[in-house]
Amino acid sequence: MKTFPKGGVHPPENKIASGAGIETFALPKSVVIPVAQHIGAPATVIVQKNDLVKVGQIIAQSSGFVSANIHSPVSGKVTKVDNFLDTSGYKRKAIAIEVEGDEWIDSIDQSEQLVTDISLSADEIVARTLEMGIVGLGGATFPSHVKLSIPKGKKAEVLLINGIECEPYLTSDHRMMLEKGEQVMVGVQILMKALGVDHAFIGIEKNKPDAIIHLTKLTADFPGIKVISLKVKYPQGGEKQLIKAIVDREVPSGGLPIDVGAVVHNVGTAFAVYEAVQKNKPLIERIVTITGKNVKKPANFRVRLGTPVADLVEACGGVPDNTGKIINGGPMMGKALANLDVPVTKGTSGLVLVPEPESRRKPVMNCIRCGKCTQVCPMGLEPYLLMTYAELKRFDDLERDQVLDCIECGSCSYTCPANRPLLDYIRLGKNNVSQIIRSRNKK
């Protein structure tokens, strides 16, 4: 069974919501749409207070190559363009819309009819993903058109589709593969056409046998696509680990997947690309998992962006009494929320409600040099050493020992028997080193 060779951990999977079919979530009363919900430059607002908007209408425009358009997920009236609290924990610019009815712009094909013929050319596909505001839906929210625009001198050889969902608890990609398999397959073919590659691999961990069987069956109708079942190991969904696991190539330190001829997209993104290209539908909704050990009714919702996450939690039976932490994303890489009055954005893959006893860290002890952090680091780093350097502010040593290669997977902190906050310090070190490098390059 294939997997990436170096490091990795296997946290309890806790995929309690995996049996819950995707439910379309009710239209909210009002939405808040942040203009920065992707990696890159925030979009520029092009609507004003009191404007009437329709579903799918563009309300904020991409403001650079690495940026993305934002469309209204609802119809109604713009009530405010102001700073709102979002999932990042900061107040940032956003557009508030009061929902009235559900009126879509005419160009969107709202039918459920599967369209398999791809009429657009490669360049048109890239332009369409840009126009429709498609970003990576695995959590990183990197604008998809950027990944589809191959820089000069490089060549895409293989497309990898990430169906790993290696984070514990989260199940939105799993449900997507089971319920929207055909659309995902067409989406993959669209991506292949855009990149000019002949084959694509969909990587799925073997803890989702139903998805593996279902998509493998579908490959009969979609030549060039192969489903690869992988051993369950975190962080296999990391781009570099996935590429290593499936095609055995190592992205060089500081490099990008395209340096080894690979492009990676998430299954959710493939679905969004399908809708954008075949249905003319912008990215206005996504699948969000609401789960946790004490959540009454864990669910996977298809939600309009901008919906308050509190509404979703309410629909699952509310916040359980003993909840001690609410994570936006999975427990390994997600961010703890301070407040539920924040909107669902393009990057919201799920919410995990953690019971109080599990939400606290254990007391920190001295490093016993057990070497486990080094063993589990998928990037071949020495977390114990990086933490010490960061504590001592030895930034030159941090840079030399490649702190910037850290993918912040958290495997080291997860494993440490002395409960050392390795990743906290490594993050600090990374920030410092990036700053130093930036100012050095300016000179």
């Binding site: 190592e250 932490k325 703890a336 001295n366």
Partner: protein, 333 residues
């Protein structure tokens, strides 16, 4: 949700494995139980007294030093002081007077561990620091070996004799041929079970291997150190034996005698004082193997495992500095 509910906000990861320092320590202690049981069978009362005193005094010294000298919160229940006491006891004869054991514990914990800052900071294996201190300071008491079985009901008054290694060394030094000495050495099957004189925890190869297998299974240790130490010893003594079988004894004897297995499986693998990377661990292990053989075959002491480990402990920072794990996506130069 109620507006006043308090929730924790902290950076990722939010999920933690169930490993802990004390779990690791107690597992090593469990792994040593079979060897302790064997020592009770062969050395009886003495083994019990020595072990109890060593453990109690190590725990007590750690507590007192932490509380009154370093003025930090004592963490004696993490199991590491118990382990140091147990290992110290395993490395001394079962007829050692109580006051010497207490002194050895003080050196092991006070100098070997706490003077460097306590758990995780000690460059040398604390139990071995204690042991070597005792060996140098009390060479007579530390090398009078109670006879297995015969000493079962005795402590200080146990009848003593030489260890197989000691017999060999003395005989060879006095110019006796190896063939004559072989008759005095117990059968290898007896050595394997532990029926010989020696430090109280080192005698039974069987029990030590059993515990070692448990540690490997629980992933407390990896194969790198034990295999490289033992492999080197087999290679080194094997070559000497093949070249001159009249003068040098076979490798199996070296593996089964003295502190070889206890050292390779439990002392050299001490996490705190061994290298981090597998490659570093192999170099470390080979170094221990070579040094042990040099001392055993050419040195004045019959046994050299403890010295070899302590010497190699000193190289660990160097090994960790220059031997790095293979980075992902290393750019080939």
């Amino acid at each position: 949700m109620s507006a006043t509910k308090l929730i924790t906000v902290s950076p990722s990861p939010h999920n933690y494995g169930d490993e802990s320092v004390s779990k690791i320590m107690y597992r090593v202690i469990w792994a040593l139980v079979p060897a302790f049981a064997v020592s009770l069978v062969f050395f009886g009362v003495g083994a019990l007294i020595v072990t109890a005193i060593a453990i109690t005094s190590c725990v007590a010294f750690e507590y007192l030093i932490a509380k009154y000298i370093i003025k930090s919160k004592p963490t004696v229940w993490d199991g590491s002081a118990i382990l140091t006491g147990l290992l110290l006891a395993f490395n001394v004869p079962s007829n050692l007077p109580i006051w010497i054991i207490i002194l050895g514990s003080l050196v092991a914990i006070g100098i070997g561990k706490m003077s460097f800052g306590g758990l995780g900071k000690n460059p040398f294996n604390p139990a071995l620091v204690g042991r070597v201190f005792l060996l140098i300071s009390f060479p007579v008491q530390m090398t009078s070996w109670p006879k297995a079985v015969e000493a079962r009901w005795a402590y200080l008054d146990a009848t003593t004799g030489a260890t197989p290694l000691g017999l060999l060394k003395e005989g060879l030094m006095n110019g006796k041929p190896l063939s004559e000495l072989m008759d005095q050495i117990p059968e290898y099957s007896q050595l394997f079970l532990g029926n010989m004189g020696g430090s109280l925890g080192e005698i039974s190869a069987l029990a030590l291997i059993l515990g070692g297998a448990y540690l490997l299974w629980k992933k407390i240790i990896t194969w790198h150190i034990p295999v490289s130490v033992l492999g080197t010893v087999v290679a080194f003594t094997g070559i000497m034996w093949l070249v001159n079988p009249d003068q040098y004894i076979d490798p199996a004897f070296h593996l089964l005698s003295g502190g070889m297995l206890l050292g390779a499986i439990y002392m050299a693998t001490d996490m705190v004082s061994s290298p981090m990377t597998p490659k570093g661990q192999i170099i470390f292990g080979v170094g221990i193997g070579v040094l042990t053989c040099v001392i055993r075959l050419f040195g004045a002491y019959p046994e050299g495992v403890s010295f070899a480990i302590l010497i190699m402990n000193a190289f660990v920072p160097l090994l960790d500095k220059y031997i790095k794990p293979k980075r992902f996506g290393e750019v080939k130069k």
